[in-house]
Each structure stands twice: as structure tokens, then as C-alpha cells.
Symmetry: C2
Subunit: 200 residues, 2 copies
């Protein structure tokens, strides 16, 4: 079992699986769609995968692992998540995703989350123990400057920070956000709402 993947070189067209969920209506929907995009670095789309997760459930980790296994794109090198939670608070155990798929995971966060506030909210939820463990495992988000003077934050598992940082910078070709995440977001929101909304 590897503790970390070593990236000797990082190609500009490194294959990334970017994952985002579709917007949903709390109280109405039980599940929401999960979209995976296979992307070549920050350049182009190679494939699209669909799955779904339970709102505020605990199946996101398994659903992501399944998605990777189904993908069978053999040169997939890294997984990128648009935040740690899908379908509301259905948080991902990124250590487990790495263990089961052997692919390192990078979680992309637009702004520094208030972890204490999140932990307080979670404390009152059904799956609080599991969620808190997922947050602990993901670690404190670290800053990555993807444009001059403008940053996003990442959590990561299964690779060094320096490698995660390089992969994020290589793939953020069109905006502050890596392309696999930007495009997964456009697809998920476009399909769910009829037209895509900005702000991945």
C-alpha cells in the first residue's frame, strides 16, 4: 500500500478525473447527480461519467471509487474534487479513495472555509462522526496562487503538496479554477438546471 504517489514529471496533459455534483433542492430531492470529467491537464475533455449520491448521506466515497474503477482510463493519474462534500454534507474520505484507487486526490476549495463553523454544524448531524473524520483526514486547506495575486485552496492526499500545487497550476488554464473542476461544474449545473451557472 503506497502512502504517496511520486510524480517524477508532471505532463501538461496529465489525465485528471474532475468531480462535481449537480445543484439540488434540499427537502425535495433525496439524491443528486455526480458528474466526472476525464480531462487532459487544462486542455481538453476526454470523457464524461455520471453517478449519484444521497443528500447528506455517506455514500460519496464509494460512489467516487466506483466511478474511477468504471472509468478504466488507464492513464488516469489524479482525482480532483470540487470541495470535500457532494450532495450537501455527504463528505468524502479522501484517504480511502486513495487507498482503493491508488490515485492521489486533490480537493479544490474557492475560499478558505471556516472549519470551526463547519464542525459545529456537523456535530448536530446524523453522520457527524464520519464527517468529522473526513475533515480531519483532508487536513487544513493550503493556498495555491493560480493567477498573480489570486489564490484558491486545496486539501490533498496521496501526493506531496508541491506536486498537488503544480498539477493545480498546470490545469488552471482558463480561470482560477482547474479546468476539470470548472467543466464538471458547467456540465452538472447545465444538466440539472437546463443551463449552466458560473462560479464552479
Amino acid at each position: 500500500m503506497r502512502k504517496e504517489v511520486k510524480f517524477y514529471t508532471i505532463k501538461k496533459e496529465i489525465r485528471i478525473l474532475g468531480i462535481d455534483d449537480a445543484p439540488f433542492k434540499f427537502g425535495r430531492d433525496k439524491r443528486t447527480m455526480l458528474i466526472g470529467v476525464v480531462f487532459r491537464g487544462g486542455s481538453y475533455l476526454d470523457g464524461v461519467l455520471r453517478s449519484d449520491v444521497e443528500i447528506d448521506g455517506v455514500d460519496a466515497t464509494e460512489k467516487i471509487i466506483d466511478m474511477v474503477k468504471r472509468a478504466k482510463f488507464k492513464d488516469l493519474r489524479v482525482i480532483m474534487l470540487d470541495g470535500l462534500g457532494f450532495g450537501g454534507f455527504n463528505l468524502v474520505d479522501i484517504e480511502k479513495v486513495f487507498m482503493e484507487t491508488s490515485l492521489p486526490v486533490i480537493v479544490v476549495v474557492r475560499k478558505m472555509p471556516d472549519l470551526n463553523k463547519i464542525k459545529k454544524t456537523i456535530a448536530q448531524m446524523k453522520h457527524s462522526d464520519f464527517y468529522l473524520r473526513c475533515i480531519e483526514k483532508a487536513g487544513v486547506p493550503r493556498e495555491v496562487e493560480t493567477r498573480k495575486g489570486k489564490s484558491i485552496y486545496i486539501q490533498y492526499h496521496g501526493l506531496k503538496f508541491e506536486d498537488a500545487e503544480r498539477i493545480v497550476k498546470i490545469s488552471a488554464t482558463r480561470s482560477l479554477i482547474p479546468e476539470p473542476i470548472r467543466v464538471a461544474h458547467l456540465i452538472a449545473s447545465g444538466i440539472a438546471l437546463g443551463e449552466s451557472k458560473g462560479g464552479a
Copy 2:
């Protein structure tokens, strides 16, 4: 009412709306999903739109016009269709699409269709008169070489062949097929089947 749009210059990042339908099961499904992607030339995705059409119906023309109007991307310059029919034989009146949206239409066809065979099939269908008119209006597909020695075919309305040809070549950056069509196909098949299938 303009008979043709003149393209004085064609920018590499000309905004194109590429449209494809999702695979469906004949006899089971009444309707299938229509996916529109707003693409900058052959380079990147700017937005995703969803609609639907009736299998072997006559609403594809209206659905496409609605999609364009909803898009409101003001600098959209041209529409590209993956074939003339969506949801089986739900053919598109590309003259009407042009008249109603003021955007020229390019229909992308992978190989030269057997028009006589298609007309014979259509003659036995419910909406045969309308379908035959759509085929007449679209004209005989013309060859465009998108890679050395490799061609696709296009039908078009509302612009000169030379302009249509340039737009197709500019946007076919990753394969023989223009990116807006390749990507619309990946999304439509990925969403409908759970994972995308090649061969836009």
C-alpha cells in the same frame, strides 16, 4: 431578413453553439435529451444547455430555437448540429433556425449519407412531408478536409460554404470533428449511459 451572414473575419475563439442528442432506446423512450454546448472555437467550454426532443417527432427545430434564445450569450455567432436529425428522425428545418435566430447553421456529418435511402425510409413515416422538406433545405453535404487526407461533410444555411468550411477547420482542434460537436456528444452520451462513448 438576412439571407446570409457575412463573416469579415473569423476569430479563432468564435462562439459556437454545438448541439447533440443523447442515445435513447427505440420503443421504450418517448423523448431524449438534447445537449447544447457553448464553445469558444476549438478551445474551451463556456456553458452547457439542456432541452429534450420527441423521438421521431417534429419539435427539434423549435427546441433548438428556444435553446438559442435561452442562451443569451450575445456573441454567439454560429450553430453546429451533429447531423440533421435528433431523437431519431426528428429533423431540423435549418432555414427556419437561421430565420428565427439570425445565426447561421452548420450540420456536421461524419460520412456521406445515402440520401436516396434516407428519403425512401422517410416516405413511409408519419411526418414524411416535413422531413423531406428539411432534407431539401439542408442541401447535399459537401466535403471539408479537417485533417490531411481525412474529411467530414457539412450542410449549411445562412453563410457561404467558404465561411462554414473555415469555421469547421478552426474548431476541429482535437479530432476530425469540431470540438463543439465532439464535446456535446461526450456529455450527452455520458449523462444518458453513465459513461461517454466515442465517435461523436
